[in-house]
Structures are given as structure tokens and as C-alpha cells.
């Protein structure tokens, strides 16, 4: 019988956090894996961590539970990937950052600034006819900010994509171990960071 039933084939958003060696070509290996297995990436962010040898990726994919488990295992299989966890159902802090350049003639500037205040966003650049708004927060917050700014005329926008971190003092939420068919066996034990 093929793997998966209805509940595991339904698509939903999954957030994976991967620690990878900070070496040339590692991003290519990760990207190549997603291409090869036809997983569509919603967002992927890479950045430094507290350790200079290790980079951290936050990968958001819209896929079934079964495929997400397969992505996780395939990522783990890459030699340069030190650890992967699916933090979708863990208590996490998720943040996205957006820079939004909005048309802002003098007469409408107050309105924009009011919105910026409500959203605890910032105006980081002011020009004669426009401002750049910087906003951080969960994705939904940014979505509504964008929606509200739309009537003013958005000239351009950039978003970083989501970054995520498990709450609490540990690196890894202990119950995050996904039942991905290996009955909790992990290829890579949690690194001692």
C-alpha cells in the first residue's frame, strides 16, 4: 500500500530549521534537493549563527505531512547539513521583515504615520514624495500592513521570508521529533552547541 492517508496528504505550511556547515556550495546542495524532489519552497532564509562555522536556514514549504517528513530526511542526508527540525507544531517565534516604499505626498503622510504607529513599524527613509516603511512580525501582520498601505500606492516592496526559533532555553523542543516512519530515530543527534 502506498504511504499516506488523507490527513497526511493534505497540504499545509511547514517550517523547517536547518543548521548547515558554512561552506561554499551548501546552499546549492539544499536548493538542488528541493528541485530534484519537486518541492516548492515558499521562502528560504540563510544567515550566520552564534558559531562562525555554522549557518542557519529557515525553510518554509507548502506541502503534505508525508512530503515534509521526506524533505526533512533528505536534508539530513546531505553531508553538510548538521541538523534539521520541523518546528511547525513547536512553540516558536516566527518573524518576517518587509521594506515597503509607499507614495507619500505631504497631505497623506500623517495617515501613513498613524498606521506605522499602530503596527509598531518604522519609517526608515523619507523623500519628497515617498517613504520607506520597515515592518517586522509574523507573516499575517505584514500581510495586513501591506494591504492597508496598498491604497497609498506601493512603489516597491521586499520581504525577507520567515525566520523561526523555538521558545524556551533549549536549542531543540524535545517533543518536536516527527514520526516520519523511522519511529523517532534521528540520523543526526542534536549537536552540542
Amino acid at each position: 500500500m502506498p504511504p499516506g492517508d488523507d490527513s497526511s496528504t493534505r497540504k499545509s505550511t511547514h517550517i523547517l530549521v536547518a543548521l548547515v556547515e558554512n561552506k561554499p556550495g551548501v546552499l546549492n546542495r539544499v536548493a538542488s534537493l528541493f528541485r530534484r524532489r519537486s518541492f516548492n519552497i515558499e521562502s528560504l532564509t540563510v544567515g550566520h549563527t552564534e558559531s562562525p562555522d555554522i549557518s542557519r536556514m529557515t525553510i518554509v514549504v507548502d506541502t503534505s505531512k508525508t512530503s515534509a517528513a521526506l524533505v526533512e530526511k533528505n536534508l539530513n542526508k546531505l553531508i553538510n547539513v548538521i541538523d534539521v527540525q520541523d518546528v511547525t507544531h513547536a512553540p516558536i517565534v516566527v518573524r518576517d521583515l518587509a521594506l515597503i516604499k509607499v507614495t507619500a505626498p505631504a497631505e497623506r503622510r500623517a495617515e501613513i504615520m498613524q498606521l506605522v504607529d499602530i503596527f509598531r513599524a518604522k519609517i526608515v527613509d523619507v523623500y519628497a514624495e515617498s517613504v520607506i516603511v520597515e515592518v517586522t512580525g509574523p507573516e499575517a501582520k505584514i500581510d495586513s500592513m501591506v494591504e492597508l498601505l496598498h491604497p497609498f500606492g506601493i512603489i516597491e516592496m521586499v520581504r525577507t521570508g520567515r525566520v523561526a526559533m523555538v521558545r524556551g532555553s533549549g536549542y531543540r523542543a524535545p517533543y518536536v521529533l516527527s514520526d516520519n516512519g523511522t519511529n523517532g530515530v534521528r540520523v543526526n543527534p542534536t549537536p552540542n552547541l
Binding site: 538542488s32 533528505n74 523511522t182 543526526n188
Partner: protein, 571 residues
């Protein structure tokens, strides 16, 4: 001590226990070939780099050690690609070393410059680009470790020419630091006990034994599990040789061209015990109707395989040998007489349907007969390297593999042109063994240049070319699935006896059934290489056959003899 990068390569190969490598020199790897002169490693000059990779693969499969191949940058490295892909899909430990242009030219489209690590990324377990000599010892240490540990596979090291020429203090690291690579070998106790409980409770279990049994050397443990639990075993193509085929519990090969009764047993089983196999589409047929009543225990060293194609009720990540040793103490003997009686009923008319029992032998030379005679004539005491296609399936069906790891063949990639170069590697790996390559006339024509390598290396290979004048498996598919609209299957070839003669090899041609045994005897008696051409009937099919998209139980069987006479007339 100071060493150039090129010297380090050979120094490290020696320390890793490498005695033989297969390769082809060229511009960007000249410093390494220059240093070779001073080191006692045997280099086999192949006639095409693809065959260097395939020979290294054959050597690795024959010995369990890492096979090494070498090529220059650009075209040399590109020609390795097919062989590396073959090693990748069949989990074969191979290290490929390629020369690369000087590091400051990398990325500039210099002469013979190609992004080799980019091209080989999806077909290697891991790969490296080395542009500083200081990195070389660590990289090579890691490469050998990665290639042979866990689920084995090919690792490529691309070394820039300036890194080959530069020198530095040489020290080979003792330890490896790979924080992201820790293969799990032992199964967790809870799953082990769970698996044993499933096995003891099963009434209709089947063991599915794959390549992992051979790679981990779990032959004895497999046999013990089968005998202690009284459980029938079916093997994948690459699992052949995991358990002697004359063993009463061995149902032989499963899948697309597997034994009908093995496939039926799998479909009706209440428990599948999958050991070191990956439920490839060629062994499962349509997944929707695969083993509908079975619970599944899946043991594999690669966590990705578990649950990938078939859901596992008990998934155990670990080395087959270790996990079996853990499970064995819990296994109880069961009679399961009803199950074995049922399997015997399925076996029923298999003998009568066998093309060798249909009274056709007097008039025509059949490929299955040739394979069967090679088995009989050699007492089965040889290593066989088969190619891809009908010849491969007939070899799997009509040669009774009783020796451990006796068959070497390309499973996952189905690489035509595999047999001759892989047999070269195999012969170097098993010098005391009689090695036969069984190859169709299509695959053989991809390998002809390597006859010169066979001669140059004085390798007493026995090559059996099953010549049906066409691409047999493609023809079979066109006949059965494309209404006999034959398209590009006729393939002409040279006079193989004259060809053998041109290479200085003994050649012989057989077209009558009566002469087969004598030709095999003559080939064995000749101390050198022998090329034997068997001119066989072109239009016979490999049966049983599970057609693409069909369930494993919906096999196309060879018609029973009474109905077959009309068909025989037509043939």
C-alpha cells in the same frame, strides 16, 4: 615531510589500501600522472572514462572495498558521469578523482573547464572541489570514509591543477570531523522487539532481501532468520546471492520479471520483512495494489528509504547485519505449513511453462538455454557480470546463484555497456575466480573498445555475447505495449570472431544448441580471454512480466505448451 598535492594523492591512496585504479590521463591531471611513476599502484588504462567508473564500480562490488577511478577535467570528467550515476543508484563505494583547471581559471570557461562538482552533485553521495593543497588530506580522508560507510556511494574529488603542483607539509589526519554525517547502525531496542513480535505472529510472512544484505555481509544472518523462523525469502535483482538459490526457502527473484510464485506470495503475504531493499517500482509494480494485506517491517540504513514508497509499520534505521543480529534471539520457529503448501500450489505449473521445457531446443538456440548451459558447464562456480536487458533477466532466471555475492549487475540505473568494463574491475578484485560477462549484442557494442584493455592487462575474461541482432528488451516492450510497431530495434554488428581475432583474443561462434556445451568447455580451457558469440532466436520474450502500471499479481505469463505451439510456429 613535504609533498606536492599530486604525491599526496598517491600517498593517501596507498594508505587507504588502494592497489588498483582505473583511469585515463589528460591535461589537467598531468601532475598526478607524473607522480604515479614513483608509486606502486597499478593503473589500468581504459579506453573510455565511462568504463573507468564502471570498472571501479565492478571492483567495488566484487571486493566490498572502495573502487577508484581517475580522469582529467572537462570531457574526461563528463565521461565518468554515467558510471558514477550507476554507482550512486546501486550504492556502490567509488571514489573518483578528476583534474580541474588551475584555480584562478575556474569559472572562466577555460579550455576543458566544466563545473564538475555542479554536474555530479545529484549523482554522487558527496563531492569536493579542492583548490588549495592544504585541504587535500582532509578531503581525501573524508571521501573514502563517506564512500564506504553508511549507505555506500560514489564520492568525487575535483582537484585544481595548481593544488596538484603546490607542496606543503603532509600529514594524514587520523580522525574525521563530519558533524552532519553519522550513520546509524544499530536499531532501537523497542523497534527490534516490535519487529520480532510481528515476525513470530505472522502466518504468511515473506522476507524481501535486497542489496543491503550483500553490502553489509549479512548472508549468514539472513539465512539464520529464514531457517529459524521458517520464512520464505525472495530477493531483488541486486539481492541475488544473499541466500543460495538452491536453498529450499529461497523463492528467488521478485518483481517485473521475477518468479510468478514469489510475486504471488508477496501479494498474499500478511507480513513483508524488507531487509536492505527500497521498494523500487521494478519490484513493486503498481503501489496501489501492492501487498494489500501485508504489514511491513522495513530495515534500511538510509532513513529516506523508510516510508518513501511503501508505508512501514515498523521502520528500523540500521545496518542489515547488525539489526538482524539484534532480532535473531527473539525469533521463534513456526511451521506455517498452510503457507508453504499455498506457495507450492503457485509454483505448480512454472516448470511446464518454462521455455526450456517446451520442446523447442532441438531446432533453435534460445538465450535462456545458453545461460542455463553456462551455469551447468561451469558448475555454477564462477562470478557472473551481466549487462542490461533481456540477457540480464535471463541470467537472473536461468543461472542458479548459490555462491555469496556471485552476480554483479547494474540494477538501479540499468546501464547498458556495464558488463565488460565491470567484469574487468571484477576480475582484478577476484583474480582467482573465473569471471564471465554475459552481454547482449547491443550492450557489447558499447564496450568493444575495452577489449584492448582486456588484452593489455592480460585478463582471462570469458565474454558470452548473446546475439539476437536486436535490442531485445526494447523489442519485447514494443511487441507487447506498442502493438509490435518495431522502431529502431534492428542492430547490425561486426563479425565478432574476426573482431576477437583483430584484438588477439580467441573467438568462437555458436548457433546450434548441440554446440553450446562444447564451446563453454573450450572457453574455460583456454588460459586467456575468450569471446563466444551465441547466435540466438531473436523474437522470444522474458516471462513472467508485470507490465508497467499493473499490479504484481497481474503478470503476463508464458502461455502453457498446448497453446504455445501456434506461437512457436510463428517464431
Amino acid at each position: 615531510m613535504r609533498r606536492t598535492g599530486a604525491q599526496m594523492v598517491w600517498e593517501i591512496l596507498r594508505r587507504e589500501g588502494v592497489q588498483i585504479i582505473f583511469g585515463y590521463p589528460g591535461g589537467a591531471i598531468l601532475p598526478i600522472y607524473d607522480a604515479l611513476v614513483d608509486y606502486p599502484i597499478h593503473h589500468v588504462l581504459v579506453r573510455h572514462e565511462e568504463n573507468a567508473a564502471l570498472a571501479a564500480d565492478g571492483y567495488a562490488r566484487a571486493t566490498g572495498k572502495v573502487g577508484v577511478c581517475m580522469a582529467t577535467s572537462g570531457p574526461g570528467a563528463m565521461n565518468l558521469v554515467t558510471g558514477l550515476a550507476c554507482a550512486m543508484l546501486d550504492s556502490s563505494p567509488v571514489v573518483a578523482i578528476t583534474g580541474q583547471v588551475t584555480s584562478h581559471l575556474v569559472g572562466s570557461d577555460a579550455f576543458q573547464e566544466i563545473d564538475v562538482t555542479g554536474v555530479t552533485l545529484p549523482i554522487t553521495k558527496h563531492n569536493y572541489l579542492v583548490n588549495r593543497v592544504e585541504e587535500l588530506p582532509r578531503v581525501m580522508k573524508e571521501a573514502f570514509y563517506i564512500a564506504r560507510s553508511g549507505r555506500p556511494g560514489p564520492v568525487l574529488i575535483d582537484i585544481c591543477k595548481d593544488a596538484q603542483m603546490a607542496s606543503t607539509g603532509f600529514e594524514y589526519p587520523e580522525t574525521i570531523e563530519l558533524p552532519g554525517y553519522r550513520p546509524v547502525l544499530r536499531g532501537p531496542e523497542e523497534q527490534i522487539r516490535q519487529a520480532a513480535a510481528y515476525i513470530n505472529a505472522a502466518e504468511r510472512p515473506v522476507i524481501l532481501a535486497g542489496h543491503g544484505i550483500i553490502l553489509s555481509g549479512a548472508n549468514d544472518e539472513l539465512r539464520e532468520l529464514a531457517e529459524r523462523g521458517n520464512i520464505p525469502v525472495s530477493t531483488t535483482l541486486l539481492g541475488i546471492g544473499g541466500l543460495p538459490e538452491s536453498h529450499p526457502l529461497n523463492l528467488r527473484m521478485m518483481g517485473m520479471h521475477g518468479q510468478a510464485y514469489a510475486n504471488m506470495a508477496i501479494q498474499e503475504a500478511d507480513l513483508l520483512i524488507a531487509l536492505g531493499m527500497r521498494f523500487d517500482d521494478r519490484v513493486t509494480g503498481n503501489l496501489k495494489s501492492y501487498a494489500p494485506r501485508a504489514e511491513v517491517i522495513h530495515v534500511d540504513i538510509d532513513p529516506v528509504e523508510i516510508g518513501k514508497n511503501v508505508r512501514a509499520d515498523v521502520g528500523i534505521v540500521g545496518d542489515a547485519k547488525q539489526v538482524l543480529r539484534q532480532i535473531l534471539p527473539f525469533i521463534e520457529h513456526r511451521y506455517r505449513s498452510a503457507w508453504f503448501a499455498q506457495i507450492e500450489r503457485w509454483r505448480g505449473d512454472a516448470g511446464a511453462r518454462d521455455i526450456l521445457n517446451q520442446g523447442l531446443l532441438k531446432d533453435m538456440l534460445l538465450a535462456p538455454y545458453v545461460v542455463h548451459e553456462i551455469w551447468r558447464g561451469t558448475g555454477g562456480d564462477i562470478t557472473v557480470v551481466s549487462d542490461v536487458g533481456q540477457n540480464q533477466m535471463w541470467e537472473a532466471q536461468y543461472f542458479q546463484h548459490d555462491r555469496q555475492n556471485q552476480l554483479i549487475t547494474s540494477g538501479g540505473l540499468g546501464t547498458m555497456g556495464f558488463a565488460v568494463p565491470a567484469a574487468i574491475g571484477t576480475k582484478f578484485g577476484r583474480p582467482d575466480d573465473e569471471v564471465w560477462a554475459v552481454v547482449g549484442d547491443g550492450g557489447f557494442q558499447m564496450s568493444i573498445p575495452e577489449l584492448a584493455t582486456v588484452v593489455q592487462e592480460k585478463l582471462p575474461l570469458k565474454i558470452a555475447v548473446i546475439n539476437n541482432g536486436c535490442l531485445g528488451m526494447v523489442r519485447q516492450w514494443q511487441e507487447l505495449l506498442h502493438d509490435r510497431r518495431y522502431s529502431e530495434i534492428r542492430i547490425a554488428g561486426p563479425d565478432l570472431v574476426k573482431l576477437a581475432d583483430a584484438y588477439g583474443i580467441k573467438g568462437q561462434r555458436v548457433w546450434r544448441p548441440d554446440d553450446v556445451a562444447e564451446a563453454i568447455r573450450a572457453a574455460r580451457q583456454c588460459p586467456g580471454p575468450v569471446l563466444t558469440e551465441f547466435v540466438v532466436e531473436p523474437e522470444i520474450n522474458v516471462f513472467p512480466m508485470v507490465q508497467p502500471g499493473k499490479g504484481l499479481h497481474e503478470m503476463l505469463r508464458r502461455p502453457m505448451p498446448s497453446r504455445n505451439m501456434a506461437m512457436a510456429e510463428k517464431v
